[in-house]
Symmetry: C2
Subunit: 548 residues, 2 copies
Amino acid sequence: MNSVVPGANPYETGLDACAANYVPLSPLSLLARAAAVYPERVACIHGPVRTSYRDLFARCRRLASALRARGIRQGDTVAVMAPNVPALLEAHYGVPAAGAVLNALNVRLDPATVAFILDHSEAKVLIADRTFSSVVKPALASAKVRPLVIDIDDPLGPEGERLGAITYEDLLATGDPAGPWTMPDDEWRAISLNYTSGTTGNPKGVVYHHRGAYLEALGGALAWGLRDHPVFLWTLPMFHCNGWTMPWAMSVVAGTHVCLRKVDPALVFATIVEHRVTHMAGAPIVLNMLANAPAAAKRTFDRTIEVATGGASPPAAIIAAMAAMGFRITHLYGLTETYGPATICAWQEKWNDLDPAGRAAMTARQGVHYPTQEDLMVADPATLVPVPSDGATLGEVCLRGNTVMKGYLKNPKATAEAFAGGWFHTGDLAVRHGDGYIEVKDRSKDIIISGGENISTIEVESALYHHPAVLEAAVVARPDEKWGETPCAFVALKDGARADGAELQRFCRERLAHFKVPRTFVFGPLPKTSTGKIQKYVLRERAKGVDP
Amino acid sequence: MNSVVPGANPYETGLDACAANYVPLSPLSLLARAAAVYPERVACIHGPVRTSYRDLFARCRRLASALRARGIRQGDTVAVMAPNVPALLEAHYGVPAAGAVLNALNVRLDPATVAFILDHSEAKVLIADRTFSSVVKPALASAKVRPLVIDIDDPLGPEGERLGAITYEDLLATGDPAGPWTMPDDEWRAISLNYTSGTTGNPKGVVYHHRGAYLEALGGALAWGLRDHPVFLWTLPMFHCNGWTMPWAMSVVAGTHVCLRKVDPALVFATIVEHRVTHMAGAPIVLNMLANAPAAAKRTFDRTIEVATGGASPPAAIIAAMAAMGFRITHLYGLTETYGPATICAWQEKWNDLDPAGRAAMTARQGVHYPTQEDLMVADPATLVPVPSDGATLGEVCLRGNTVMKGYLKNPKATAEAFAGGWFHTGDLAVRHGDGYIEVKDRSKDIIISGGENISTIEVESALYHHPAVLEAAVVARPDEKWGETPCAFVALKDGARADGAELQRFCRERLAHFKVPRTFVFGPLPKTSTGKIQKYVLRERAKGVDP
C-alpha cells in the first residue's frame, strides 16, 4: 500500500490496461473462437462445397498472409466486387487480418462510379468476380489507381473475362493456412468502407471500425435471439453495409452461411428446404418477390423461418402475406452509416392478442434502438428537441452510439454535418408513438407538402399495397401551381392483374385523407437501385412531365 | 479532400470519436434500454412485491441521486451487506450511476474481516440488511472508517438491530426518480470491487470496470442463448462476482429476477413452479442440495430448467442426477478475477449420441473460452509454453481478454504477478483434451504429490461421489514420511446412509490407479466457505493429525 499516492483515487492507480486484461474489440476474435470451439461445423455452403470453421479460418489466414506478402499494409484498401460468394465472406476476415480495409463494391454500379470509388479509396487490390468483367474492365481503364486485380473464378458463376494476374484460389494457394491472425492495435482502426448509393453527387465512403463491427455483430446475435448454429441464407447483398454485419455475427454462434449468387424465388424456396435454413434477411423487395412468386415455385416448411427486413419500410400487406407463408418478419431499420440495423421493432407480448392485420401494423414500425445502439430520438433537427410521443409530430430520426460510423472518408465537412450536436442525423422523418416506438414517415427529401400539409409518401404507398392488383408502388411530389405539390403515384401491377387510376384513386379515398390521395397515376415497372430501393429521384423527374 | 494531409492514412484523419459515435461501454446502458423498451415487464419479484422495469429504473435513479446528495463522488466505495434482495440488485445500477464503486460483501464473513474490507476499500457508505447487524455492529466498531450506514429493513427478513441513521426505503424516498443517469466518462472506470475469500492472509480486492461488466453481461446472454424475458431465480449469491454479472445480463433481455434470501431446497422447487423460472445458477453445492432434497420437497416440471454451475467442478454423478430431475446443466468456470465465468463447456452435437454418464463426463469439463473472453490456454506458468492437447499433461489455466479484472486494489505487486507475461494466471491446474476442452484437475496448492506422481484431488473426489452413500467428499494431502504425501479423504454421508473407509477404499480401487486411492478416511460434516466451497486449507491442517 506504500506505493499508492495518498489522496489519489485508488481505483485509478496501478490498474492500467495490459495484454492480460485488454484486447481491442474486433470481429477477428469471433472467427478465431468459432474455429477453436466448433472446428468441424459447416461454416459455409456454396453449391456442392461445404467449408468447415477450421477450413474457413485457414482460408482467411491464407488470404491475410497472401495480401501481406503482396505488400498490403495497415490502412490500405482492398476492394471486392462479388455477389454473395465465399470469397466475399472470407474477405470480411482475411482483409482486416492483414490490417487492411475491406471495400465491398455494389455489384450493380456503372464503370464510372466504380472508377470513382477505386480512386477515392486509393484501392491497392481489387478482387472481382469474372461475371462483372464488363463493368470492371472499363472502370480499371478509366481509374487513376492501378490496383492488383484478382479474379474470382467461381464454377457456379456465368462466364466472364479474366482481368487479373491471378485467380483468388491461386492467391490463396500462395498463402499460409497457419499465418498470423493479427488483431488491430486499436479498436478504432478502420475495418471496412461502404459507399452510400449517392442519389445526388458522388457517393460518400462510410468508414466502419473494429469496435463498432464487433458490437453490431453481438447486437445482431442478441436482437435476433440467435442460439448455436443457425443456418443463414444470403438473400441480402453482402456488399450492403457488410451484410448488416452478419458475416461476423454468424461466427458468434458458429452458424452456417448459405451463399447465393442471385435472389431467384424458386431457388430461395428450394434452398430453404434443402439446407434447413433458419434465418434470412433482405429488403422488402425480396419479401415482395417471395410473396408474389408463382405457386409452383413456392414451398411449405415444417417450421417458422426468421426473416429480418429493412432498408425500406415493409408494407403491412407484405408482412401479413409473408407471415401466412410461414415466415416470421422482424423489422429492422438503419442506414449504411449505422452498420445496417440501428433499430428493431421488438415484439411485445400484448401484440399476441392482435389479429394478423393489427400485428402487421405494429411490426411495420421501425421500433426501438438496437441492443448495442446507445440511444434514439425523433427530434427537431435544428434544436435537437425531441418531438412529443404523440404518433403525429414529425421529426428527424437521430441516433447515437458505438455502432455509428467512424465518419465519411476524406470528407470532414459531411462528417461534421452528420454528427451535428452529438447525434447522427439520419435524414429520415418519423413520429414517435406513445409506446416509444418510432415510425418513419419519409426521407426528408421525399416528403410531399401539399397546401401546407405534410404527406408521408410511405403512408400513401402503404395504402396502395393493400390493393390486390398492386405489385409495387412509389409516390413522389409533382409540382402543382395551386397546391405547391401533389402526390403522384407510380405503380407496377401484378402479372395478369388489372386496375386503372380511377380504381386506385377510389381505393385510396377509402383509406386516406382526401388531400393525401394521388392526383396522378403512372403504370409500369419502377426504376430501382442495386439494393432494391426504388429510385424516387428518377420518379420525381418523371413526375414533372406528367399531366394532371 | 483538400483538407486531408497528403500521405497521411486517410482512415485515421478527421475520423475521431465524438458523442454521436462513441459511448463508454457500461451496464448502465442496458437498464436504460430495458426500461425504455419494456417499461411494463416485471424486472424483479421479491415475495409479494413485483417491480416493473420502469419502476426498477426509477428506483435506481432515486438511489443514485440520493447517494450523490450525500456527497458520494466518483471513485467512492459503497459497500452492501445483503442477501439476494432488491436493494442489492438496485445497487448494481444505482451505485455506479452515482459514479461510485459497488462492494458487495460476502454475508458470511466475520466482523474482523468486514472491518478490514471497509477500511481497505475506504467505504463511504454501508448499506446493510438488518439480519446481519450482529456482524456489522462489531465490524463498524473496530473499523477506522466511519461510513454512512443505511439499513435494509426487509419485511421478508428476520428481525435484527437497526444500526443506521436511515432505512434504504427512506433513503430512496429522498431521491429523484427522474434523476440523471450518468454514464462513466471512461469505460475503464471501476464499477465494482469484489474481495476474494482469501484462504491465506488478507482478502484481495478485485476491481471490475464498466467495459468488462458490459461485455461479460453480453457474453453471458450469448453463452446461455438467452432470448427475451427469461425468469432467473437467484440461487447464486449476488455478492459473488456480482452474481456472475447476471444483475446486468438480465437487462439485455429484459428478464425477471426472482429474489431469494436463502437457498432452501423446498422453497427453490416451489418458486420454480410458482414463477415459471427458466434459469438459475449456483455452485455444485446448490445442485447437490437440490439433488439430495427429500422427496416431499421435490417438484416436477413441464419443461427443462437451465442451470449454470461453476465455482468448483461439478461431479459427473451430480450432473446426471440433476439431468434426471429435468435440469439442464451448463458448466461454467471462472474466478472472481474474471467476472465469474471465463469458460463454458459448450455443447457439441455429437454428444447427443452419448449415454447419460458419457454426457455427464463431457459436461464435467470446464470447456472453452467464453464468447467475450479472448483466449484461454493451459501452459507452463513460468515459460507460458502451452501443454500438448493430450488430456494428460498438467499446466496452469491462463486467461486473457476484456473480462479479466482491472487488477487488485492497492496491490500492484499482486496485480503484476497475476498478469505476468500478459496472461492472467488462475492458479488452477488443468489438462487440455484433444477437442480443445480443458479439464481442471486441481488448484495448484491442492494437488497431491505422492512418490513423485501427481494426484488430482478432483479426480479422487469425483470417484467418491459415485458411491451412493456419499453426500460430499474432499481429498487433501496428508504428509507421509515414505511417499512425501498421500491422499486423505474427508467424507460426509447422506442421511441414513452407511459406508466405512474400507468400503470406500475398495470402491475407489475399482475406479482409480492404486496410488490415487485415499489411505485415510475421516467422516463428518465438511467446513465450507460462505460461497459453498469446501475449505481445503482447514482439512489440510486436520489431515496432519490423522493417523494412517
